[in-house]
């Protein structure tokens, strides 16, 4: 079988070039640290890697929302705690007021004290959440959710604003549920009107001992109702916080697992690629050496 001289050289050169490009490719993988240099290397893996990358960003988004919710809920819990403490203090004051006969100056003192508590409560229910919204802003408020002068009114749409992807967590609470609809002697009403009524009775010089005592009793009932609402809300908030904490751990774990899968698809296995590189180098050297040997053998040398 004949072999044309030029085609023998061409084949040898083609082999050397082939090995060379293999070496260059391996070197590129090593220097970029990426197994997949482009989608053509492994289209299915490249598509999966892109999905994994996106999933990581989405988990990050979920984490941010969840953290925001935790902050909001934590803050709400604190405020509810303060409300609870304040309501207890007011309650103790009324218990005191119910003990025995009160002189007009005692009543006046108590009335002033209760007015102070009432004003503090009015401030607490309108606490801002520091990000531009309000802790008890319902489904969204741009200004104080409670109008507390005279008969109180709850301004925003009652309910809770929620955030979440795949989950729901409250970030703004329903103020109406806690502070309005408090039980009172004359049906449901709001805590501010109830306190105003008690303060007015205490300030009224014509009020009898009996009517004061009755008013105190009914106010105590209302305060118990309020404390009940607050406790209920705190339980709900606590439960949501617990879920948010659990969710944070889960998101963390998912992130780590997705990152691992992504690395497996994209990152170079240095041990394998270094060994491939070494093999390619050896093959390249063999190709070049044999080329040199063969090209030395010419009949013309012997003539």
């Amino acid at each position: 079988m004949r072999v044309a001289t030029s085609s023998a050289y061409d084949t040898a050169i083609a082999n050397i070039n082939e090995r060379q490009s293999q070496l260059v490719r391996t070197q590129q993988q090593l220097s970029t640290g990426r197994k997949l240099l482009s989608a053509a290397d492994d289209p299915m893996a490249a598509a999966q890697a892109e999905r994994d990358r996106s999933h990581l960003q989405r988990l990050d988004l979920a984490r941010r929302m969840n953290d925001f919710a935790r902050t909001q809920l934590g803050q709400a819990d604190n405020i509810l705690g303060s409300v609870s403490d304040l309501a207890q203090t007011i309650r103790e004051g009324f218990v005191q007021a119910g003990n025995g006969a009160l002189s007009p100056s005692d009543r006046a003192t108590l009335a002033t004290q209760f007015q102070g508590y009432r004003d503090e409560l009015a401030r607490l229910v309108n606490t801002g959440d520091g990000s531009g919204s309000f802790v008890f802003g319902g489904q969204g408020a741009s200004s104080d959710p409670f109008a507390t002068a005279g008969t109180a009114a709850y301004v925003p749409v009652a309910g809770e604003q929620k955030v979440g992807v795949d989950f729901e967590a409250s970030t703004v609470l329903d103020g109406r549920q806690v502070f309005m609809g408090v039980a009172s002697g004359s049906g449901a009403s709001d805590i501010f009107s109830i306190l105003d009524g008690a303060i007015a009775t205490l300030r009224d010089p014509a009020a009898t001992q009996a009517s004061v005592a009755a008013r105190v009793q009914s106010t105590l009932g209302s305060l118990d109702s309020l404390l009940d609402h607050v406790s209920q809300k705190r339980t709900e908030v606590g439960e949501q916080l617990r879920q948010a904490d659990a969710r944070a751990s889960l998101l963390e774990a998912n992130s780590a697992e997705t990152q691992r899968q992504y690395s497996e698809l994209m990152d170079v296995d240095y041990a394998k690629v270094l060994s491939d590189f070494s093999n390619s180098q050896t093959a390249q050297q063999a190709a070049m050496k044999t080329y040199a040997e063969i090209s030395r053998m010419k009949l013309f040398d012997y003539l």
Binding site: A4, M44, A47, R64, Q139, V157, V163, L303
Partner: protein, 628 residues
């Protein structure tokens, strides 16, 4: 007995050996000349002299010099070359495209996710103007990335067309030279001897043409060849040489298509008629691979734009106005082919709620019926009456009448991405809230509640107050304009009610007299429900059954697997070409060692022949001396 006869004998031998030495020298000199076929001197005896005592030979004569050429193998090389050139051209373009899309860390998928992240911050704080500004800025980055990818596709298309022009220019040149060489060969062959080097030259030209398009040849008795394209058109026949040109396609003037310029008219040359060669590979890349990628990009961009714009329209911005479109992109464009004889004007629009197919369309009229062809896969549908909706595109004949043979191009997916932009200058117009709110009754004693609420369409009665009342015994009734005021509806937790364009899902255990109210939203600027719906679009499988990023991943995989396939085809066809070339050069290639051996052989023949002449000379001298 004649010394002259012997001298003559010697001289023929000398000439023969000399010719062989020359030919061997020619072979050695041209060992690396591309397309050179080794030549051999054909010798035969120079006849005999009939004498009474036998036939005396008269030496050697040179019959001709032939080249070791195998027509069959050479044709095989041509065929293999056409295949290899086509595959290599396509693989080169696809590899470039794949590399371009390959840097996914800055890719379209990241831009989509970054936009979603900014929408997430808006869900957290719908009233925050900074969050709104970031959303607009990320939307702009997304639009820019979409346009960037579209631009890369456009550049790839232009690169293809530049190469096509170069190929055509080279091809036309080679065809003219082929005709020239043909003529030279014809006039030289008249002498009866094969003009070997010209034949080699012509074979090289033919191989060069095969690199550009696949050809078939026939050989004429006068030694010339006729060249035909794979599709049967005459390229070189005698003195008539065809000329190729690229000009704007009649149907789609933004693309070049090939024509063969013959006397009288231009014959369009389709990729199928090329049969192979780099032009076939380039056209396949532009019209199949690039068109598919471009269609997917357009489909994705249209999906993103439509989804966001639709959701915007379902909500209110902080000023209480209905949401304006966030993104702007062109709708389908119809153009008539140049050369249409009729006056028909077709229009196309996208039907509400449907996604775009990743394709453009061609409409043809045959005199009776219209045929709509989906260009991505060739799927055809026949239309006899207008309007028709195909793949979500509503096509209609708006005026005029066509004539048989008229064609129209409907550019649908291909125009979206290049002109995709943000229509909204300020984040203040982002419709984060809904027009209606739900609220449980203040005096409720049970715990009926709203599990989920959505606005599905902007109906006239959307903001009409509606009241849902429970009887506490398992039924509810609804009252409000637009609801029809139904009563006695059985209540099960988890059920949904839909009226006036909204849908409300109920949960909880109601007591008698409990209510849920639906009313106009007094504070849309602090409401995040439509922002949540917009964020949820990123997870919705609305782009050919995939999420936005999923559709982008599919685009990557599609281009990647086309590139991978093209590379292996190119490798395979290169291997076939190498094999064919090896087979051909096995017969016709020069082997230096063989020539060296022959050199020695012919040198000895020459020396022997020279010796013969010396002997003849000496014999003559002897005779002369003998005569005194």
């Amino acid at each position: 007995m004649s010394g002259g006869g012997l001298l003559n004998l010697g001289s023929t031998a000398l000439q023969a050996a000399y010719a062989q030495l020359q030919t061997t020298g020619h072979n050695i000199s041209n060992v690396n000349t591309p397309g050179y076929t080794r030549q051999t001197v054909n010798l035969q005896t120079a006849g005999t002299l009939q004498t009474g005592s036998g036939f005396i030979g008269r030496g050697v004569a040179i019959q001709t010099v032939t080249r070791s050429y195998d027509q069959f193998l050479a044709t095989q090389v041509g065929v293999a070359q056409a295949g290899a050139s086509a595959d290599a051209a396509r693989a080169e373009q696809l590899t470039a495209l794949d590399t371009l899309l390959g840097d996914t860390s800055n890719g379209l998928g990241v831009a989509i996710d970054d936009f979603s992240a900014s929408m997430g911050d808006l869900v957290n704080r719908p009233f925050d103007s900074n969050a709104r500004t970031v959303v607009i800025s990320r939307a702009n980055a997304l639009a820019e990335r979409i346009r960037g990818v579209a631009d890369s596709f456009a550049q790839a298309s232009q690169a293809v067309e530049q190469r096509l022009q170069q190929n055509i220019s080279t091809l036309n040149d080679q065809l003219v030279r082929l005709a020239g060489v043909n003529n030279q060969i014809a006039s030289l062959s008249a002498s009866g001897q094969p003009p070997n080097d010209l034949l080699d030259q012509r074979d090289q030209l033919l191989l060069g043409v095969n690199k550009i398009l696949r050809i078939n040849t026939t050989t004429n008795p006068d030694g010339t060849v006729n060249v035909f394209s794979a599709g049967g058109q005459s390229l070189v026949v005698g003195d008539s040489v065809a000329k190729f040109a690229a000009q704007p396609d009649a149907l789609d003037p933004s693309k070049l298509s090939l024509v063969l310029k013959t006397v009288g008219n231009d014959v369009p040359v389709s990729a199928a008629m090329l049969g192979g060669g780099s032009m076939a590979g380039l056209l396949r890349f532009r019209d199949e691979d690039l068109a598919a990628a471009s269609g997917r990009l357009g489909q994705l961009a249209a999906s993103i734009g439509t989804a966001l714009n639709t959701q915007q329209a379902l909500g209110l911005d902080p000023s209480g106005a209905a949401g304006a479109p966030l993104f702007a992109f062109p709708g389908p464009q119809v153009s008539a082919a140049s050369g249409n004889a009729g006056s028909a004007v077709l229009t196309a629009s996208v039907t509400q709620g449907s996604g775009l197919a990743p394709s453009d369309y061609a409409v043809g009229y045959d005199g009776t019926n219209y045929t709509v062809t989906r260009l991505s896969d060739g799927q055809q549908s026949t239309v006899s009456a207008w309007p028709q909706t195909i793949d979500g595109l509503r096509l209609d004949l708006s005026s005029g009448m066509p004539q048989a043979g008229d064609r129209f191009l409907v550019r649908s997916a291909s125009v979206v991405a290049a002109n995709f932009s943000v229509a909204m200058a300020s984040g203040a117009r982002l419709a984060t809230g809904l027009a209606v709110s739900t609220q449980t009754g203040a005096a409720n004693r049970g715990d009926p509640a709203v599990a989920a609420f959505s606005v599905d369409s902007v109906s006239a009665n959307l903001t009409q107050p509606v009241s849902i009342s429970f009887d506490g015994a398992g039924h509810l009734s609804v009252s409000g304009t637009g609801t029809g005021n139904p009563t006695g509806i059985a209540y099960t937790p988890g059920m949904s009610l839909s009226y006036n364009g909204w849908t409300l899902q109920l949960k909880g255990t109601p007591a008698a007299g409990d209510t849920i109210q639906v009313q106009p939203n007094p504070s849309p600027g602090t409401d995040n429900r439509n922002a949540r719906a917009m964020l949820a679009l990123s997870d919705a499988r609305i782009t050919a059954g995939q999420t936005f990023v999923g559709a982008f991943a599919d685009l990557l995989a599609d281009v990647g697997s086309r590139a991978q396939g093209a590379k292996s085809s190119a490798d395979l066809s290169q291997t076939l070409l190498n094999g064919a070339q090896a087979a051909s050069s096995q017969v016709g290639g020069v082997n230096l060692d063989e020539e060296a051996a022959r050199l020695l052989q012919y040198q000895q023949s020459y020396q022997a022949a020279a010796k013969l002449m010396t002997a003849a000379q000496q014999m003559f001298d002897t005779i002369l001396h003998a005569m005194g």
